[in-house]
Every structure is written in C-alpha cells, then in structure tokens.
C-alpha cells in the first residue's frame, strides 16, 4: 500500500485544487510500480490551508496555478520515487524516461509498462543490459509507435537505435547496472519512440529474491 499526505499554505479554490492534485498524482504516484499489485488502500490526501497570504488561485490556467502545480508535482514525484527506491527487496531505483510519443499520456503509459515488467526488473537485478525485454515491454504498452523509430539507452550506453540492436560494450552496460545496485542508486532507461513532443516518466525497482522472502513471511 502507498499512502500520502500533502500540505500547503497556498490559497486555492476547491475545484482547482482537486484537479491539480489529480494531475500531480498522475505524474508521480500513478507512475510508480514495485510489484504490479494495486492495493486496496492507496490514498493521497492533500490539504491547503491558505495561510501563506498568497493570492487566491481560481483558474487552472493562471500563472499562479502553473507555479503551484510545478511545486506539487515536485513534492509528489520526490515522494513517489522514494517509494520505488524503497521497494521490497530492491537494490536500485529504475527511472524510465520515454520521449517522442504523441502525448504525455502515451509516453507515461509506455514508461510504466517498461517499469512494470517483471522481466526487465529481473534483468536489472541480474545486471543484464537486456534491450530485448525493454523493447518488448514498450511494445505491449498499448500505444502505437513504429518499431523502426525505437531507440533504447541504458545510462549512457545506447543499446538500440532506430529499431536496430547495436554492438554495445556489454561489460560497460552491465557494470553500470552493477554499480547502481551496489550503492542503491538509480538506473536510467531512456526510450525514444518517434518525433512527437510527449515525454513521460515512470519509476520502479529491480526484482530480487528478497521480494519473495519478505512477502512469504508477511502473512494475513
């Protein structure tokens, strides 16, 4: 289960605040995954006291709303990423960035598909730069893109370009994964699917033996 409480002293009306919170949730908590199980209890409650003395925000399109939205996004993304980082049994955080999609929503969906893949997660734990599993998970996300436009980069190592696997340095790519795992750092998977302006991110973690151990012992 994930729970979140967000507070602010900005002054904002109810309709705008509720829309802003859902937008931020979609850009953060709804973009994380640890094990693919949706809890019965997931909740985010966000409270705005209005005590800062700021001018009241009554339009989502106002400059002030955009400023507050960016703060809200930042706080929720910071917290969401820390949940993925702390995933049960995880040795590293996985950040999947998708660019070139037709929209933010499409990019986000592809990113989460890759972050959710048990095979990608297991490959990261196995320190295996497995571009095929990443490509497959992007492909079944339910978003159309041309395979010939698919590019995949792991950290700084380009694994696939324009749909063609490259002769990358396997030791370097594997070492990147190993180092991240040793210090519980972040593994970056960058995927480009075309020339669209849609950018989306999702966060997950690797899948280790400890995940099964923890949940085999956490009984109902």
């Amino acid at each position: 289960t994930m729970l979140g409480i967000i507070t602010t002293d900005a002054l904002v009306n109810t309709d705008v605040w509720r829309k802003m919170v859902q937008i931020a949730v979609n850009r953060s908590f709804n973009q994380i995954t640890v094990d693919g199980d949706t809890s019965t209890n997931d909740t985010v409650i966000a409270l705005a006291s209005g005590l800062s003395g700021s001018t009241s925000i009554s339009s989502l399109a106002s400059y002030e709303a955009i400023e507050l939205q960016s703060c809200l996004d930042a706080v929720m993304q910071g917290l969401a990423k820390s949940i993925a980082w702390d995933g049960e049994g995880a040795t590293c955080l996985i950040e999947v960035t998708v660019t070139g999609a037709e929209s933010e929503v499409e990019a986000a969906k592809i990113a989460r598909s890759v972050a959710s893949s048990s095979l990608v997660k297991a490959a990261v734990y196995g320190r295996d730069p497995n571009w095929g599993r990443i490509a497959a998970a992007a492909g079944y996300a339910g978003i159309h893109f041309l395979q010939s436009k698919l590019c995949i980069r792991l950290g700084d190592v380009l694994l696939m370009d324009n749909g063609q696997p490259l002769a990358f340095d396997r030791a370097v790519a594997s070492g990147y994964l190993r180092k991240a795992g040793e210090i519980h750092d972040t593994v970056g998977i960058h995927i480009s699917v075309g020339e669209g302006s849609g950018i989306g991110r999702a966060w997950g973690c690797d899948l280790s033996y400890d995940y099964v151990k923890i949940n085999g012992e956490y009984t109902t």
Partner: protein, 213 residues
C-alpha cells in the same frame, strides 16, 4: 512530547528524496512546513511486533481545502470508502488520522464501523465535526484495526501534536509498514510573488502499483 516525537522520528532512517530540479528550495519540516499544520506519530500498540510508532495524526488549524485520490481497486478498504464519501460531501477537512499495522481492508461492515468509531472519537477530542476528520490505514489486509489500542492512544496522540519538524518526522515514521526508510519532504517557492510551502509524507514498499482517481 518533544522527546517522544524525537525518538519516534529517529526509529528508521530517512529516505533520500530525489526532487526534480526547479525554482523551489528544499526545506525541513515535511507535512508541518506549511503554515497551519501540526503532526504527531506515536506507538499505539497496533503493530504485531516491535514498538515502532504506528499511529499518526496531521491537523490543520483552519478549514483546509481538501482533495483526495484513492485506489480504483473495487475491493477498497473501509477508510477509502469513508474518505471518498467524506470528500464528496465536504470541501474542507481539519485532520487526517493514519494507522499502520492493520489495513482494515476486506473487513466488511464491521471494519467500516471501526473506521467510523475512530473518526468520531478523534473528532470529539479535537472538537471537530466527524466529517472534518479523514482516515487512512495500512498494514495487513483482512485484519480489522486494533480499535481499543487505537482509541486508547488518541488522547496521547493529540497531546503530542506539534508544528515542528520532529512532529512531521514522527508521523512519517508512524505510517510505515515494511518500509526501510521514512519518506518526508517540503519545498518553499514563490506563487504570484508570495512565498508558499508545499510539504508531504508518504509510505510504501510493497503492493505498489497505484492507479488512483
């Protein structure tokens, strides 16, 4: 109270928070960084093992504009059903009570009554209307809240409320379950030329694939 909160906030390490870059500045305080908020986290005897804090409270001095996003899982826990209903009927809230240990999910009518009783008791202690109190639960699915332990702990929880960073830290610890670290962050930025703060805390480690609406 200060000592209790300090001990509570040091129970487990603090998570590294990977804030995106932007015009904001990270500041201490988590959920209590913004003006008007207090928080506390204490051990109330709800957890099956250990004495890590398991009961948290966040309050606002004024009627706070309230928003919620909840699991879209059809099998929703009692607190989720309660909060959805509360926010459908009220634009504001004053307090959020969170327990760790039992999720109060798949507990049927009895579990919902437990949630209502916890809300009513806390509302009475805070001199609020029940509809101004929201509730969240996390822990083992299928188990009802250890209600007596929770209700008996509420006066102490209220007495520990603090606008300090320790208050926020202790609350962030109290909502954890299998988490190895507590998650809390706050930022300060400008909105329309006025300084504002946004803070937050979260928990989560397993059973994580949110799809909230």
């Amino acid at each position: 109270a200060s000592s209790t909160l300090n001990e509570a906030s040091n129970c487990i390490p603090v998570a590294p928070i990977f804030l995106p870059e932007g015009p904001w500045k990270e500041i201490p305080g988590g959920v209590t960084a913004a003006k008007g908020f207090k928080a506390a986290g204490i051990y109330g005897g709800l957890r099956a093992t250990g004495e890590k804090p398991d009961l948290a409270l966040v309050t606002c001095d004024v009627d706070a504009i309230a928003a919620g996003a909840f699991t879209t899982n059809v099998v929703a826990a009692a607190p989720v059903i309660y909060c959805r209903h509360a926010l459908d009927n009220s634009e504001t809230a004053r307090a959020v009570l969170i327990n760790a240990g039992q999720a109060n999910a798949a507990t049927g009518d009895a579990g919902y009554q437990d949630a209502l009783e916890c809300v009513d008791t806390l509302a009475m202690l805070l001199n609020l209307k029940p509809k101004e109190v929201l509730i969240e639960s996390t822990g083992v699915i299928g188990q009802r809240i250890r209600k007596e332990a929770l209700l008996n702990s509420l006066p102490r929880l209220v007495n520990n409320l603090s606008s300090s960073a320790e208050g926020a830290g202790s609350a962030a610890v109290a909502i954890t379950t299998t988490d190895l670290v507590s998650k809390s962050v706050a930022v300060e930025s400008q909105v329309g030329g006025t300084k504002i703060r946004v803070g937050g805390m979260a928990k989560g480690s397993g059973m994580i694939h949110p799809n909230m609406a």
